[in-house]
């Protein structure tokens, strides 16, 4: 049995330890906010945080998360429902079109902003280019990231 934490709550998994974290989250734990899209780590739709860093959950076998902390889009807002600044900025700029890739985009942006609190467009391009949005919301993603950085700075 593999034990870990998801969104600050204990979770466990019994079965094929090759199973990607993505499918454990979706099929076993009912956390369907994390999306399946390419299955091979090329698009970022399945990005979650593992010990605080963004990872493509389709490429993480559940065997490697023993004792570690996973955060998904469902656990991003505060317990009282207060949105993360990135979620807030995403709403302000109404980024999503079909919305399918946006959980991953948001999780990736949160990690990115932790490392680049005052990013340039170039920083965004270099760090967010592992993500794919088929609807082409990139113009708004860029604006929303700048806005989220602003919100975070105002917070601290």
């Amino acid at each position: 049995m593999i034990s870990f934490k998801v969104n600050n709550k204990p979770a466990s998994f019994e079965g094929d330890t090759d199973t990607p974290l993505l499918w454990v989250l979706r099929d076993r734990l009912g956390l369907t906010g994390t999306k399946f899209s390419c299955g091979v780590g090329l698009c970022g739709a399945c990005v979650v945080h593992l010990d605080g860093r963004a990872v493509a959950s389709c490429r993480v076998p559940v065997s490697s998360v023993e004792g570690r902390a996973v955060k998904t889009i469902e656990g991003l807002a505060a317990a009282d429902g207060e949105l993360d600044p990135v979620q807030q900025a995403w709403l302000e700029h109404d980024v999503a079109q079909c919305g399918y890739c946006q959980s991953g985009q948001i999780m990736a942006a949160v990690d990115f902003l932790n490392r680049y609190p005052d990013p340039t467009d170039k920083d965004i391009d270099n760090n967010m280019s592992s993500m794919v949005c088929r609807c082409g919301t990139y113009v708004r993603i860029r604006k929303a990231i700048h806005r989220a950085a602003e919100l975070k700075r105002a917070e601290s």
Partner: protein
């Protein structure tokens, strides 16, 4: 896409639906308004019996003042879930913040007269989601408001004409008498419906329509609560994947499932029969289904499967051969499908003839949410939950597999993780129904990305040739476009060969009727790739070809590309337009747009070597768009898009935020496709498999300097979903030429620029 199902249904319901708007009280005590689920010609549902179950498209005013508006159309990211409720809320006169939405299922009901759609025609394609509902949704809102006014007038014993509304309240005589809508629910529900639709608002009084509103369910999306098709969880649901033939029209010779069945969680493995080669297809491929207790177990089970494939009749299909055949075909004579004026004579008299060929590849849709479908087939019923653009098609596919009457098939729709035309076909519904019928279990059928790339209804590829005759003053006197392609109408039922061209050339497009001597010629070529509608179907190819050629024509005849377009397009006038998006086309609206984007980007300013501007414009499905691209090309052929100015004239922007989003997204889709996307075939098999060899644009490829402009024209909205794409590729390649002198006549651009510059 104009042939999309639902349109007929919508038209049929139009005639009678006003008379059959009905009101009543919901189980929860709200006031509801909608269309009764009865056939036309029968009496309306008797007063007092109207409950939620009988109400069709509806609005509900809750006792707490909240307003729930039913969303009858599939939401694929185009914003239909937000814009249609905006229309209702505007005329009903409520605060937008009080509005929430409820996704309606397919409203198919059987009546004495056949099937009818109780929520109106349902299905999104051809950029018609708004335009087909523009009048009706406003009428529903206005009718509900009218009933509330009448109820208030009766209560206060004043004439209805002395009453009006402010958001959420009826006001009679004095503002002190303002009555909240929810207090009028019971009275309003008892009133007979008006004979005529009340007058609609003057657009100058709009408070919601035409203003910036955010996506109504955006909070669910940013918190991961939205349920897409793949997020469906139903009791006892099993998961299925299918190993489909890697060969176009191949089939299963035999298979060995002994290892697959050893995979923990695999429950069943069996053969799925596909269509016979050449016959109409409602599923794509023969294959072997693997059913398991989890998605991962199904995928692993499939990996362990050993299938011996019969490569079938298309085993030697090859892209290289396909392109050679197209080139060969254009040397001969094809089917003349349009022939205006005296083309041959005008060509013979021309002072100069300009001729070019352009190649447009097969491309795949690749929405971020792979195809999937939940199906539960029981003896006398079937439940489908599916992300689709065509819920009617889903119902037909399930009926075809199960043999059940369509009224016994329930189709629920989820928010859809991208459409782009892929979800106009419902092959995945048929597959899911096959697997559920075979096993007796509720099934979620899952496609992987590889499945989605290798089993698509691809956008057709073709080799185009344009020849134009020009007189000594540079005036174009004759024009022909000759196209050898694989038609989208491949394997359509009842499709004679002589009509195949109709999916590839829309004859009334520019420059027909502007250049008097005009001819279109078509050559059909065969290849085993399935084909379908891809966002703005043939417009994407034809705009690239025509707008590239205009630049080349201008250069060859010493004219300016912008001025040549303005000369040809001319001023405002309505030309007859018989294709989808008609009945008329006003080329002057394109003139206005291209002038606008040219000015915004300082077209007239000379750029240094290596930097250039390109323009293009096109009319698509009733809407108008133009783009200006500014690019730099390094001496080694590295391309950077520096700036984009995009403009759309969609008549009247009802939901400007979504129009802007579609303009941004459509432009990026056009860039993505032009830069790197191509489906190729070798030995009868699709060669691409995932995003490494079928690349989608990334954020770094899109400039920060991206300006999206909406230029309203009148008060009649057109669609927007497909309109922004067609000018993108030619504006980009025209800019590349301006910067580098390299003319790219073949899409995708891929490494052509680097290879040409290196040579």
């Amino acid at each position: 896409m104009s042939a999309l199902t639902g349109k007929t249904a919508n038209e049929r319901i139009d005639a009678g639906r006003r008379r059959f708007l009905i009101a009543g009280t919901s189980v929860a005590g709200g006031f509801v308004l909608g269309i009764p689920a009865i056939s036309f010609g029968r009496p309306p549902v008797a007063e007092g019996t109207t409950g939620e179950r009988q109400i069709g498209y509806f609005i509900e005013i809750k006792p707490d003042g909240g307003v729930v508006i039913g969303s009858n159309q599939p939401e694929i990211g185009q914003g239909v879930r937000t814009v249609l409720p905006m229309l209702v809320a505007e005329e009903l006169d409520v605060e937008w913040s009080s509005v929430s939405i409820r996704q309606m299922p397919l409203g198919l009901v059987k009546t004495a007269d056949g099937y009818t759609w109780k929520y109106g025609g349902q299905g999104v394609g051809g950029s018609t989601g708004l335009t087909r509902n523009w009048d009706f949704m406003r009428e529903v809102g206005a009718t509900a408001r009218h009933q509330l006014i009448r109820a208030a007038a009766a209560r206060l014993n004043v004439p209805a004409s002395s009453c009006t509304t402010k958001p959420g309240f009826v006001v009679c005589d004095s503002p002190a008498d303002a009555i909240p809508y929810q207090d009028l629910i019971a009275d309003a529900a008892k009133l007979d419906m008006p004979e005529e639709v009340p007058a609609l608002k003057d657009s100058r009084d709009y408070r919601i329509v035409g203003t910036k509103k955010n996506t109504i369910d955006a909070l669910d999306m940013v918190t991961g609560k939205t349920r897409y098709g793949l997020d469906t969880v139903e009791p006892d649901m099993r998961y299925a994947v299918i190993a489909r033939s890697p060969y176009l029209n191949g089939s299963v010779r035999s298979f060995d499932d002994s290892d697959a069945r050893k995979v923990d969680g695999v429950l069943d493995v069996f053969e799925v029969e596909g269509p016979k080669p050449g016959e109409p297809y409602f599923i794509l491929a023969n294959g072997v289904a693997v059913v398991a207790t989890s998605t991962w177990a199904a995928i692993k089970g499939r990996q362990a499967l050993k299938v011996d494939w019969d490569p079938g009749p298309n085993a030697t299909d090859d892209s290289e051969t396909f392109w050679q055949e197209n080139a060969e075909a254009l040397k001969g004579s094809g089917q003349i499908v349009t022939d205006d004026g005296e083309f041959d004579k005008a060509m013979a008299a021309a002072d100069k003839i300009v001729e070019r060929q352009y190649q447009v590849p097969f491309v795949s849709h690749q929405p971020m949410e792979p195809q999937n479908c939940y199906a539960y087939v029981q003896e006398d019923s079937c439940h489908i939950i599916v992300p689709t653009q065509s819920p009617s098609g889903a119902s037909r596919s399930a009926a075809a597999i199960t043999g059940l009457p369509r009224e016994n098939i329930r189709v629920d729709m989820t928010r859809v993780g991208g459409g782009f035309g892929r979800r106009l076909t419902t092959d995945y519904v048929a597959e899911a129904a096959i697997v559920s019928r075979h096993t007796g279990w509720p099934i979620q059928l899952v496609w992987t990305r590889e499945d989605d790339i290798k089993n698509d209804f691809y956008r057709p590829a073709g080799l185009h040739e344009i020849r134009a005759g020009v007189d000594k003053d540079g005036k174009v006197t004759a024009w022909t476009q000759r196209l050898a392609s694989a038609s989208k109408y491949y394997r359509r039922p009842n499709m004679p060969d002589e009509n195949l061209w109709e999916a590839e050339l829309y004859p009334d497009d520019f420059p027909r009727k502007i250049i008097e001597n005009f001819r279109l010629e078509y050559f059909h070529n065969a290849i085993g790739l399935p084909r379908g509608s891809w966002r703005a179907p043939a417009h994407t190819a034809n705009a690239f070809v025509i707008q590239s050629f205009l630049d080349e024509l201008a250069h060859d005849t010493g004219q300016d590309p912008l001025q040549l377009r303005i000369d040809l397009l001319g001023g405002e006038r309505e030309l007859e337009y018989g294709n989808h998006g008609g009945p008329t086309f006003n080329p002057g609206r394109l003139t206005r747009l291209i002038r606008f984007v040219a000015e915004e980007i300082d077209y007239g300013t000379k750029r240094p070597k290596g930097r250039g501007v390109g323009l293009a414009t096109h009319f698509t499905f009733g809407g108008y768009a133009a783009h200006a691209f500014e690019v730099t090309v390094s001496p080694r052929g590295e391309l950077t898009i520096e700036r984009i100015v995009a403009a759309i004239d969609c008549g009247y922007a009802v939901h400007p935020n979504a129009v802007e989003a579609q303009l941004e997204g459509g432009t990026i889709d056009g860039i993505s496709t032009a830069l790197g996307q191509e489906i190729t075939v070798k030995n009868g098999q699709v060669q691409q498999s995932n995003f490494h060899d079928y690349p989608l644009a990334r954020i770094a490829q899109i400039p920060s300097r991206f300006e999206a402009h909406i230029l309203n024209y009148d008060e009649t909205p057109t669609g927007v979903g497909e309109i922004p794409i067609p000018p993108v590729a030619p504006a980009l390649t025209n800019a590349i030429f301006a910067a580098s002198g390299v003319r790219l006549r073949r899409l995708p651009i891929a490494d052509q620029l680097k290879r040409t510059m290196a040579a």
